[in-house]
Amino acid sequence: MSISKLGWILVAALALTACSRGENADALFQGQTSLEDEFAAAGALGPDGQPLPPTSRAFFQQVIGDRVFFSVDQHQLTPEATAVLDQQANWLLANAAGTITIEGHADEQGTRDYNIALSNRRAAAVRDYLVTRGVPDGRLTLVPFGKERPVEVCSTEACYSKNRRAVTVVGSAIGS
């Protein structure tokens, strides 16, 4: 966890620099490539003990961060969420192939129908933001899950805060 967090900070720092310089996607892509050695050095390893290829889905999930979180009954993106989505957009443009699914989720403190609609709003908020960062709208599919698929199962805010999420799921990536 601390390792992937370190990796996330490194990526975020680099991309913020890149954005502020108004660089194009190619430059961003090169920037990410150059990070490979740094992550290897930081020890972002896959299950086989080898460094995660920065073009892999595992890298997207664990290092870039595949999810953002929301406040109770809200779908507005927090500053933390938009920072993650900036990185997602860069990575997706460089590495993702095919369709990208954005799953919306809600915690259990709501009725089923409402939570499906609320989780759709959350997924749509992510989709809309990624589109403003250049990810083609046509590649993004929304799937609202409501409260059907919690990642944490306790009935307190500690779990609810992790369940109120939108997860970007990459169908396939260059680095598999």
Binding site: T111, Y114, I116, A117, A124, V143, P144, E148, P150, V151
Partner: protein, 439 residues
């Protein structure tokens, strides 16, 4: 099943024997205050053939369980009985039953004919008036239909004592759930309202939610994730065939049939917005009924088909609104503290059931259709999705316990808040949907 019922319907004989009962004093008035259940005795139905012995005993048990389960009747157990009913047509010794303070006596018989048909007769007696309560009746059908006959007998007893239609001859569709809380596997199931005759209508390969009966009890709508996205699917109970109601790729959920079965009202998403649409299941043609940028979902028709109640957060929180079935201006009807969702119009037309979330607790409640006379019937950590019994007197819903081991179970409660009880299911169960009365 259909053939069974045409046979039953065709041979619905009124037994000629016995004097016509005058207006009987034995009557249950379903009122709001506390009420003593009517004490009744249902001695074992007389088996008039050896082959009918088991069925006669089972019939008695099911009739008794239905009536006591309603909360309106109290069974005087056989161990307390003084008299025995050994012949269906012998005169009743009322003193045997009045000594027990039994107000209602149910007598019956079962026999099988040479061609294997089951013949069931019954009579209802007002013990203190020493008179028959309405005319006796007879059912004829295949032996396999004995449970339906028992439910009909209980429904007739309920009707004669309350003056309201019964609800025992009905089914409940629901979502059967297994597996850990984070990876629940769900499949569609259906059972009689008392939990008998359970069968599964789908596998559990893909997530599915919230079954809804067609008015003729022949089809069920539900929300399926089989295509990857939530879609509304129509299942034909006779053939088990399913077909998507909405175009592939269109997110839709929360469907309900119109009272005539010709239209489906549901929620569909367009971008970030959830609105209510009317869909023609035959053609797929759809019409949008709401246009606000709010979440609008959980629509339910009034029984006359002229209005739709739904929930919207256009005011900032989930609240209940009523609009014409053709769309147009909606009037808010919920006004108390907290959030209101999942409104369902009573089949009697007089009330709307809902889920209320207030101060961290969930409640099932009812209100008049203008929002007045709100009453909360139950409350717990998490409960939702009320569904009306066909007579509009009882609700089923599901309640989920909290924590990592939390799981859903189906419950029922009558609209005065009494007789709250769990319905037995072999696995976890949610999203109950009560069918109409089986004819």
């Amino acid at each position: 099943m259909k053939q069974v019922w045409s046979v039953l319907a065709a041979i619905f004989l009124v037994l000629g024997a016995g004097p016509l009962a005058a207006q009987s004093p034995l009557r249950i008035t379903i009122t709001e205050g506390t009420r003593e259940p009517v004490a009744f005795a249902a001695p074992a139905f007389v088996a008039e053939s050896a082959r009918a012995a088991t069925i006669a005993a089972d019939l008695t048990d099911v009739v008794t369980a239905n009536l006591t389960g309603s909360g309106l009747f109290r069974d005087i157990p056989a161990t307390a009985h003084i008299g025995r009913i050994t012949s269906f047509d012998a005169p009743v010794r009322f003193s045997d039953w009045s000594l027990l303070d039994a107000q209602l006596l149910i007598t019956g018989s079962a026999t099988t004919t040479a061609d294997g048909q089951l013949v069931v007769k019954f009579r209802l007696w007002d013990v203190f008036a020493q008179a028959e309560l309405g005319a006796g009746q007879q059912f004829v059908g295949p032996s396999s239909s004995w449970r339906r006959m028992a439910h009909r007998i209980a429904d007739i007893a309920y009707e004669r004592l309350t003056g309201e239609p019964g609800y025992f001859n009905s089914r409940i569709a629901f979502v059967s759930e297994t597996g850990a809380k984070g990876q629940r596997r769900k499949r569609l199931a259906v059972m009689d309202q008392d939990g008998a005759n359970l069968s599964y209508l789908t596998g559990d390969e893909t997530l599915l939610l919230a079954p809804r009966w067609s008015p003729d009890n022949r089809k069920i709508l539900y929300t399926s994730y089989a295509s990857g996205q939530p879609e509304v699917v129509e299942l034909d109970l006779a053939t088990r065939a399913t077909r998507p109601l909405t175009a592939l790729g269109q997110v839709a959920f929360a469907p309900r049939y119109s009272p005539d079965g010709r239209q489906v009202v549901l929620s569909a998403n367009e971008g970030s917005n959830t609105d209510i649409y009317l869909v023609d299941p035959a053609t797929g043609a759809r019409r949008r009924l709401t246009t606000s940028p709010a979440i609008e979902t959980a629509p339910s028709f009034s029984p006359d088909g002229r209005q739709i109640v739904f929930e919207s957060d256009r005011s900032g929180t989930q609240q209940l609104y009523v609009m014409p079935a053709t769309g147009g201006a909606a009037a808010r009807i919920s006004s108390g503290p907290g959030r209101y969702g999942t409104p369902v119009w009573s089949p009697r037309g007089d009330r709307i059931a809902f889920t209320k979330i207030n101060e961290g607790r969930f409640h099932i409640g009812v209100m008049r259709t203008d929002g007045s006379d709100e009453r909360l019937l139950t409350g717990s950590f998490l409960e939702e999705a009320p569904s009306w019994a066909p007579n509009g007197r009882v609700l089923t819903f599901f309640r989920e316990t909290q924590g990592a081991e939390g799981a859903p179970q189906i419950w029922s409660v009558d609209i005065s808040g009494r007789n709250l009880r769990p319905l037995p299911t072999p696995a976890f169960a949610s999203d109950p949907a009560w069918s109409g009365l089986i004819q």
